[in-house]
Amino acid sequence: MDGAAILTLLGERFGRGILETHAQCGDHTAVVARGALPDVLRFCRDDPRLAFAVLMDLTAVDYRAYPGREDGPRFEVVYHLYSLGHNHRLRLKVPVGEDDATVPTAVALWPIANWFEREVWDMFGIRFEGHPDLRRLLMYEEFTGRPLRKDYPINRRQPLIGPKV
C-alpha cells in the first residue's frame, strides 16, 4: 500500500486519535494520541491491508531542548513498523508529557517490545503499563537517573559499584 494511503486509512479509522501526519523525506509518519495507541497498534498489525508484522524499532526522543517545542509534551515514543508481506513502512509517534510519562505496552502484540520498552524505561524513564518485567536493560541496577534525557550531563560520574577495595 502506498504510504499516503496508509495514513489516510488510519485517519479515517481513528479520526481524532491521529493527531497529525507527515511524510518528511518519504517516511510516512502519524502522530497518535496515547489513548488511541493500543487500538492503532493492533489495527496496524492485524489489518490485512497493513499487516505490520514487524516492530522494527521502539524508541523515544526527549524534546526538552528542541527549539520551539520546549513547552509541549516532553517525550515522544517512536514506533517503526514494517510489513514483510507488503514491504511498506510506517512510523508512529506518541507524545507523552513529563509528569505522566506512561504509555500502554505493546508486548502482547510483538514480543520484541519487551526489550525495546525496557530500554526506553532505562534511558528515558517512560513507564509502560502492562509490561511484565519493567527493569533496566543497559545500565546497572544501582544507577540513578535517566541517561538519555537532555538534563542528564554526559560526563556525570557515579560512584563505582562492586566490592570495596
Partner: protein, 460 residues
C-alpha cells in the same frame, strides 16, 4: 514438610520435591559475563534441571558506552568514529548507514562512483563479519583450525581495507555527502588477489565443517526458532533467512546501487544453527559476487592522477597562496603527501556530493583560494557546520546481522539532536531465551555463537 524423613540413602538420593532437602531442585548456573563464549559481555543466568535449560535470563548492557548520547555532543561528522565501534567487525556498513540517514535528511544524493565504492566496501565488511562469526563460534565448539583459517582470510581483507581507508578496524571512512577518499591505485588487482585467497579458505572450511559428523550433531536441530516467533521478535538478517523468509534490505528497499547488482539471497528453512551457518557461508560467496560486479561497472575508471605541466609541491603551493600570488593557483596540479592520497581535487569530486554546505573542499582548494578556506571554516568551526533541516529520518541498511537502522532527529543545528541506532542483534538476543529453552547447557554455546552478538551494537 515431608511426612516422613528419608531414612535410607536411596530415599535421600531419589526423593522428590524442591526445597525439602531430600530431592532434586533446579540449579542456577550463571554463564558470563567474563566467559569466552559469551564474547565477554553477556550474562545468562540459566536455570537447569540436570543438563536441560528450563529458563534463561539474558542480561546485557556490560558494554554500554553511551553511543547515542555521545553523538549529540559533536557535529554530524563527529559521530562517524562512534558508528565504527557499533558493529566493530563490519564497521563500514555502520558508517555508510549513518551517513545515508543524514544524507536522506539533508536531501542530497551522493555521486554514482561513491555509491559503487560504498557497495564494494560494505560487502567486504560483510564478509569479514561472517568470517569472524563462523570462526569464533566454531572455535567455541572446539574446532580451532577453522578459527585460524577464517582469521587468516580476514587478514587478507583487512589489508585491503587498510589500503583504502588507512585503518584495519576502526576506519571512519564514510562522510556525510561522500567518502573520505577515493579508492587507491591498484585496488582492483589487490581485491582480486584477496578474494582468491578468501575463496580458497572457504573451500577448505566447507570440507572441514559442512559435512562433519560432530559439527552437524552439535548444530542440527539446535537453537531453532519458529517462523512466527522469529518475525514476532523482529529478527532480521541471516537468522530470518534461515527460517525461510527472504527479507534482505538490499532487495526489498535497495539503496546505493544494489538494484543494479545481480545476486541471490540465500535462505534455508530449518531455522536451526546449522541453517544459519549455511546461510552465512552462502552469503559470503554472494558478497564477493556483488563486489566483483560493482568493481567491473564502477564509473570513473581507474584512478589516473595525470599531471599536465609542472607539478608543484604543497609547501610551495601554500606559501604562494599566503603571499597573495593566487593567480592561476587553482589550476595548478600539486603533488600531495601520501596521507591525503585519494582525496586530491579530481578524486574528491568523483566521490563527494557537489554540495558545499555539507562536503569539505579538497585540500588544494582549501589552501589555494579564499573561498575554499571559508568553505572549510564554515563546515568545521563550532556553531557552523552541516545543518540539516529540522525533522527526522530513518534509513535502513542491510548489516551483517540484519536490518541496521539509523533514526536521526535534527533541530536545524550543527549537532544531531538524537541519533538512534536500531541494532540488528538485539532482537535475537531478546529471543535467545526462547531458542535455548529445552536445550541442554552445551547447546547454549553454538546457539549464542550463531546469533553473532556484537557487543558494541547490542549495548551501544
Amino acid at each position: 514438610m515431608p511426612s516422613e524423613r528419608p531414612t535410607t540413602t536411596r530415599e535421600f538420593m531419589l526423593g522428590e520435591g524442591a526445597g525439602t532437602g531430600a530431592g532434586s531442585q533446579n540449579i542456577h548456573v550463571g554463564v558470563g559475563p567474563a566467559h569466552p563464549a559469551m564474547h565477554g559481555i553477556i550474562r545468562i543466568v540459566t536455570e537447569l534441571d540436570g543438563e536441560v535449560i528450563v529458563n534463561a535470563d539474558v542480561e546485557i548492557g556490560y558494554l554500554h558506552r553511551a553511543f547515542e548520547k555521545e553523538c549529540e555532543r559533536g557535529g554530524w561528522n563527529n559521530a562517524i568514529p562512534f558508528t565504527d565501534r557499533l558493529n566493530y567487525v563490519s564497521p563500514l556498513i555502520n558508517n555508510f548507514g549513518y551517513c545515508a540517514a543524514v544524507e536522506k535528511l539533508l536531501g542530497i544524493q551522493v555521486t554514482e562512483r561513491c555509491q559503487y565504492i560504498r557497495v564494494i566496501m560494505a560487502e567486504i565488511s560483510r564478509i569479514c563479519d561472517h568470517l569472524t562469526c563462523i570462526g569464533a563460534s566454531t572455535m567455541e565448539l572446539g574446532a580451532f583450525t577453522v578459527f585460524l583459517y577464517m582469521i587468516k582470510a580476514r587478514e587478507f581483507l583487512w589489508e585491503l581495507v587498510e589500503d583504502v581507508t588507512g585503518a584495519r578496524l576502526t576506519i571512519s571512512y564514510g562522510r556525510v555527502g561522500g567518502l573520505r577518499a577515493d579508492l587507491p591505485a591498484g585496488f582492483e588487482e589487490r581485491m582480486r588477489a584477496a578474494f582468491k585467497q578468501v575463496r580458497e579458505v572457504l573451500e577448505e572450511v566447507h570440507r572441514l565443517l559442512t559435512g562433519n559428523r560432530i559439527f552437524m550433531d552439535r548444530l542440527v536441530g539446535v537453537g531453532a526458532l519458529s517462523r512466527e516467533e522469529t518475525i514476532g521478535y523482529a529478527i532480521t538478517g541471516p537468522l530470518l533467512r534461515a527460517v525461510g523468509v527472504s527479507y534482505d534490505v538490499r532487495r526489498a528497499q535497495p539503496y546505493d546501487v544494489y538494484d543494479r547488482m545481480d545476486f541471490e539471497v540465500p535462505t534455508q528453512t530449518a531455522g536451526d544453527n546449522y541453517a544459519r551457518y549455511l546461510v552465512r557461508m552462502a552469503e559470503m560467496e554472494q558478497s564477493m559476487r556483488i563486489a566483483e560486479q560493482a568493481l567491473a561497472e564502477i564509473p570513473g575508471g581507474p584512478i589516473n592522477v595525470d599531471f599536465q605541466g609542472q607539478p608543484l609541491d604543497p609547501a610551495t603551493y601554500v606559501d604562494q597562496g599566503k603571499q597573495g600570488k593566487t593567480e592561476g593557483l587553482l589550476l595548478l596540479p600539486i603533488t600531495l603527501s601520501p596521507n591525503l592520497q585519494g582525496s586530491e581535487r579530481p578524486a574528491h569530486a568523483r566521490v563527494n556530493a557537489p554540495d558545499k554546505r555539507v562536503v569539505l573542499p579538497p585540500k588544494e582548494t582549501a589552501y589555494g583560494s579564499i573561498e575554499g578556506l571559508m568553505n572549510h571554516f564554515m563546515l568545521i568551526m563550532e556553531g557552523y557546520g552541516i545543518r540539516p533541516p529540522r525533522g527526522e529520518a530513518y534509513f535502513a541498511v542491510e548489516g551483517a546481522n540484519g536490518e541496521l537502522g539509523f533514526y536521526v532527529v535534527s533541530d536545524g543545528g550543527d549537532r544531531p539532536y538524537r541519533v538512534r541506532c536500531r541494532p540488528p542483534c538485539l532482537p535475537p538476543m531478546a529471543a535467545l531465551h526462547r531458542m535455548v529453552e529445552g536445550e541442554m547447557v552445551a547447546d547454549l554455546i553454538p546457539t549464542f555463537g550463531s546469533v553473532n552478538m556484537i557487543g558494541g551494537e547490542l549495548d551501544r
